[in-house]
Structure formats: C-alpha cells, structure tokens
Amino acid sequence: MKKILKYVIVDIVQNRIVIIYTLLLLIISLSVFNLESNSAKGLLSLLNIILIIVPLICIIFSTIYIYNSSEFIELLVSQPLKRRTIWASIFSGLAISLSLAFFIGAGIPLLLYNADATGFMMIAMGLFLTVVFVSIAMLAAGLTRDKAKGIGLSILLWLFFSLIFDALVLFLLFQFQDYPLERLMVFFSFFNPIDLSRIQILLHMDISALMGYTGAVFREFFGNSMGIMLSFAGLTIWIFMPLLFSLKKFKAKDL
C-alpha cells in the first residue's frame, strides 16, 4: 500500500492543475488579507473560497484523476493486491496531496495573518471539506464507468451541496414558518458537510448576530466543545460513508 500511496502522491503533486490550484489559493489568500482594509473582510472572502471553490476543485479533480488512471487501476488489479488496498491508497493519495495544496495555499496565509480560533477553525474545516469531497468524488467515479457521466454527477453533487440543499432548506423554512424549526435546522445541517463547516466557522466570526434567540440555539448546540466534537464526528462520517460505499461498488466492479 505504501508504494502505491507514494506513487499516487508524487503523481498528483507534480500535476500541473494541482500546482496551479495551490498557487491560485495562495495568491487569493494573500491578496484578500493585503487588499482589504480590515482582516474581518478578508476572512469573509476566504470563507467563500473555502466553502465554494475548495469543494468544487477537489471533487472535479479527483473524479477526473480516477477516470484518467483507470488503466493504472486495471494494472494494479491484475497484481496480487487487495482491491481494498488499491482503492484506499488512491483515496489517501488524493486526500493527502489536495490537503497539502490547501494547507500551503490557504492555511499558511491564514496562520500568518489571522492565527486565532477563527483561523484555526477555517483551516480545519477547509481540510475536512477537501477530504470529504475527495471521498464523494470516489463515490461519483465508482458509480459509473462513463467518464462524462461521472464528471457530470460530481458537478451535480457539488451543486447540490453548495446550492440546492440550502435552497431546499430555505424553502422548508418558509413553508413551515409558523413552527419552531431551530432544532430541526441543527439536525438538517448534518446532512450537508458544507453547512456543517459554515456554521462552525460562523460561530467564530459573526458571534454578535448569532446571539439572537435562534443564534442562541445554534450556539448552545455547536458552540460548546460537545457540539464541536459532534460536528467533527459528522464530518468524519461524511468522509467514510461515501468512501465505504464506493469501495463496495469497486470491489464488485467488472473492470
């Protein structure tokens, strides 16, 4: 497994797109901190990057990478290796190298310009989202053999988590306006890794606005260490659920 992992990481780190992704993140992060008058505004721009760009790049890059290395995977399968090992190494290779890219691109500027609880939470959530969306990409790529279909599916999944899910939640909120939905909202947020990360970061940023009645419910749940542990656990489940599901598919797959 170590050898495959090493090979995958070296292959991805040398990949031009990953280098561009790293540099892009680095340039954006440095410029938002240098150009904005106050660091709060810079953090806000970076929040959007972490919640939108990072999942998008991760899911699409990983899907394409898996399809492009289908011949390599076939080769590996022909060797006396467990399919489980192969799949896990590819996942780990993708996750580690993209996390590295995120850490260099956004993590280091964050540590330089905003090394407080908010900054650390943003780095943690960025890393989590990177790994979660690699895992979802594995699922999308595992579900279908057709490359175009697979990439289409991963874009759709990204769109679902970053936009459609929230739109549905907003719709629900307005349909059931007369009912107390706060606790239900907390429950719903576990169904979307992006929402989960966003709420965690927000609790560190817009505390005053979130201190209203509703905010109090969220704060009570997510703000204490128990809530932070729970949302970390939720994100971990989001890493392993799609991965295990895709592994099951991959094991039974006729290559």
Partner: protein, 434 residues
C-alpha cells in the same frame, strides 16, 4: 477626600513663606478673625466610638443649621438614620453605616445638606416597599458625594426632590435576578438632578429614572447590571454625556420621553437574545451624537421614535447597527460610521419615513468619479437577508451560504423585498474620524 487633604499642606507652606511681608501678616490675621467668627456660628460636632457623641443620630440631633457633623471611622449600626437639617454630614476615612440587611440606612428629608465620605453597606430589602441605602425624600439641594455603597438593595433612592447632586459615588450590589435586586440610582418625580462620576455595578438597573426632568447624567459608569445599564421613562429634557454602559444583561432601554440629549456615551458588549446597545421606544425630539456602539447584538433599536437626530455616532462590530421599525418617522441619520457590523440597518416594513444620508458604510461598493468624497450611486443599507431573518429567525442557519449571497446580490440589482426608499444617496467614501 484624601487628595484634598494632601493639597492643603503645600498651601500652608506657601503662607509660611509669605509671612516675610508685613501686609501678609495683617491679611492672615484678618482671615483668622473671619474664620473664628464663622466657626463660632457653624460649629463642628465630632462623632466617634471613643468620643462623647457616640452615634451619628445623636450628632445630627445636636446640630443646627450650617453645622458640620464629623464622623470618625468605625462601624455604626444605627438602624435608620434620619437627617432633617441643613448640615454637612462628613465621614473621615469612610466610616461604615451598616443596615444589617434589615434597614433603610440613611434617610434625608431636608434642604441644603451634604453627605460626604461614608460607606453604606448591607441595606435591607423589603417586598412591600423599595428600601435604599441612601434615601432622599422631598428634598432640595442635597448633595451626596464620595460615598461607597456596597451590597445594597437600592443604592440611592431619590423621590420628589429638586437640585440634588449625586457625585463620585461607588455603588455595588450583587443582584442575581431582576426580582430580588434594586436599582443603583433610582429617581422618581424629581427635577434638576446632577448625577456625576458614579460607578454602578450589579443592580437591576444601574440608573432608573421615572418622571425626572432637566437633569444631567455625566461620566457615570454602569456595568454588569442584571437588567439595564440605564432605564428611564417620562424623563424629559435630560442630558447624558460621557457615560459608559457596558456588559449589562439587557443593555440600555429608554422610553416615552422627549427632548433627551445623549453625547459621547459608550454602549459596549451588550450581548444576548434581548440585549440592545440602546433601545429607544417612543422617544421624540432628541439628539444622539458622538456615541460609540461596540459589540452589541443590536446597537440601536428604535420603535415609535420621531424627530431624533443621530449624527457622528460610531457603530462598530455589532450584529445589527440599527434596527428601525417602520413605526419611526422623521429621524435623521447623518455622518455616522458603520464599520464591521454584520447587518447595517434592519427594518420590518417597506414604509420609510427616515433619512440616512451622508454616512460612512464599510460595505459600500460604489465609486466617486467627481471626487467630491461622496459616492455617486446610492447605498442600500438593508440587506435582504436581514429582512428574512427578521421575519424568520431560524433562517439564520443559512447565513453566508451561496444561495443567500446570490439572493442578496440579485436583490441589490433589483430591489423587491427591501425598502427601495431606505438608502443613502450621499454615502461617504472615507471613514469619519470620530
């Protein structure tokens, strides 16, 4: 008091040096003569545990108009002391008047009296009536300065009085809830009060005014109170300058009053579901300027207010800088700084009868082509999402998500939900120095 005492010594030295001149000697002799005449008229009665007069009440009973009752350090448990004479009651090194958690400590019903330098502690608490540590009833020109009130129910209780001064007192209570605790300075039906330089902590309301007119509240610090930093109603023509209201459970709430003048006050760190930097309810014809609102859930909440001029205030790092209900009219916001607030303005309707011109907004994204330092396109300070949250608080969970940003942006281009009239047509490009 100690500072005054120390200041006397150099003065004496100077007189000593002046004695070289013969004229000075004559002057001093004349002065001494004058002093003896005066002191013959106004005598000083000393009260102390080791002196002939042992209780303060007895000292007061012996005194005549213009006398001074000087109280030496010690603990005096005299139940309720009644002061009904025009005298100066002065404590040396803060003698302790203890109410034993049962009694109203000092009651004043007089004119031209001074209470200076006492420590009043453990006042009584009653369900039937409001018991204060120092009570001023039906009085005129009573001055309370430099006292320390500790563990009191109500601190100062002023009722039906005029031209009284409450200055440089420190008032501390350890209230746990609204029902069990009293107010720091409680004034009712009074006029021309001067409330200056007091430090108030841990009461229900730091300052509470009802029917108090033409008064000045200056340089007080009201913090960590169980309810409001200051709470008043029907208190017209009052002025509030340079006070600090910090960390109060519900911030500050003022109601049903006209002609209030608030300058250079600080409203800080009032966080909570029903906490306001300042809540203005039915306030009219007033002036609010130079105040700093920092880190409040809602910096200013206005309801039914008319003709208030708000200018040169700084709103920094608040959840909502201003929440203005549609029931307000003819209020004018100008030359204020809005920086780092999550939402600048929140409102609950589409009717806008107030003006918001010439402020600085850090969220403004316009341009200034003609270089007149004001933006060329109007700024709409109400974001659509703040209105959604106002009507549906649970929607806060989606705050700063992609869908909400998209909705907000499209709302900016084509306003549908937010009041189109609520805008700043001359937004400043640079932050004002306030």
């Amino acid at each position: 008091m100690n500072e005054e005492g120390n200041a006397c010594f150099p003065a004496k030295k100077q007189i000593g040096m002046n004695i070289k001149h013969p004229f000075a000697i004559v002057n001093i002799a004349f002065l001494l003569l004058l002093l003896t005449i005066l002191s013959a008229d106004a005598k000083t009665i000393t009260v102390g545990k080791s002196r002939s007069v042992k209780t303060i009440q007895k000292g007061i009973d012996m005194a005549n108009t213009g006398d001074t009752v000087l109280v030496y350090p010690g603990i005096y448990k005299e139940r309720n002391i009644l002061l009904q004479k025009s005298i100066v009651l002065k404590g040396i090194n803060h003698p302790v008047l203890d109410g034993e958690n049962k009694y109203e400590i000092l009651s004043v019903k007089t004119k031209n009296a001074t209470i200076d330098g006492f420590r009043l502690q453990h006042s009584g608490r009653s369900e039937m009536r409001d018991m204060g540590a120092l009570n001023i009833y039906d009085s005129y020109r009573v001055t309370a300065i430099n006292n320390i009130l500790d563990d009191t129910n109500f601190g100062f209780y002023i009722q039906n009085s005029r031209s009284c001064t409450i200055k440089d007192n420190s008032i501390t209570a350890y209230g746990k809830n609204e029902v069990q605790s009293g107010n720091g300075i409680n004034a009712w039906r009074s006029d021309s009060l001067l409330i200056i330089g007091n430090t108030i902590k841990g009461h229900r309301d730091g300052l509470y005014f009802e029917f108090v007119t033409n008064s000045l509240v200056w340089r007080n610090i009201s913090t960590r109170n169980v309810r409001y930093g200051i709470h008043f109603m029907f208190s017209h023509h009052d002025t509030y300058i340079g006070n600090v209201f910090e960390d109060n459970d519900s911030g500050v709430a003022v109601m049903y009053t006209n002609h209030i003048y608030m300058y250079n006050n600080h409203f800080l760190n009032n966080w909570g579901d029903a906490a306001y930097g300042i809540l203005l309810k039915d306030i009219t014809d007033s002036d609010i300027s130079g105040n700093h609102f920092t880190k409040n859930t809602v910096a200013i909440h206005m309801e039914g207010c008319s003709r208030i001029n708000l200018y040169k205030n700084a709103f920094y790092d608040n959840g909502w800088a201003v929440k203005i209900q549609a029931s307000c009219d003819n209020n004018d916001f100008t030359r204020n700084n809005f920086t780092g607030n999550t939402f600048d303005i929140g409102t609950n309707g589409s009717l806008v009868l107030n003006t918001f011109n010439g402020n600085y907004w850090d969220k403004y994204e316009g341009y200034d082509l003609n270089r007149d330092r004001t933006g060329d396109v109007a700024y709409h300070p109400v974001s659509m999402y703040s209105m959604i949250i106002d009507s549906n608080p649970a929607a806060l969970v989606l705050f700063r998500s992609l869908i909400v940003s998209l909705l907000d942006e499209s709302e900016k281009i084509l306003p549908g939900v937010t009041p189109e009239e609520l805008r700043d047509t001359r937004p400043l490009m640079k932050r004002l120095l306030l």
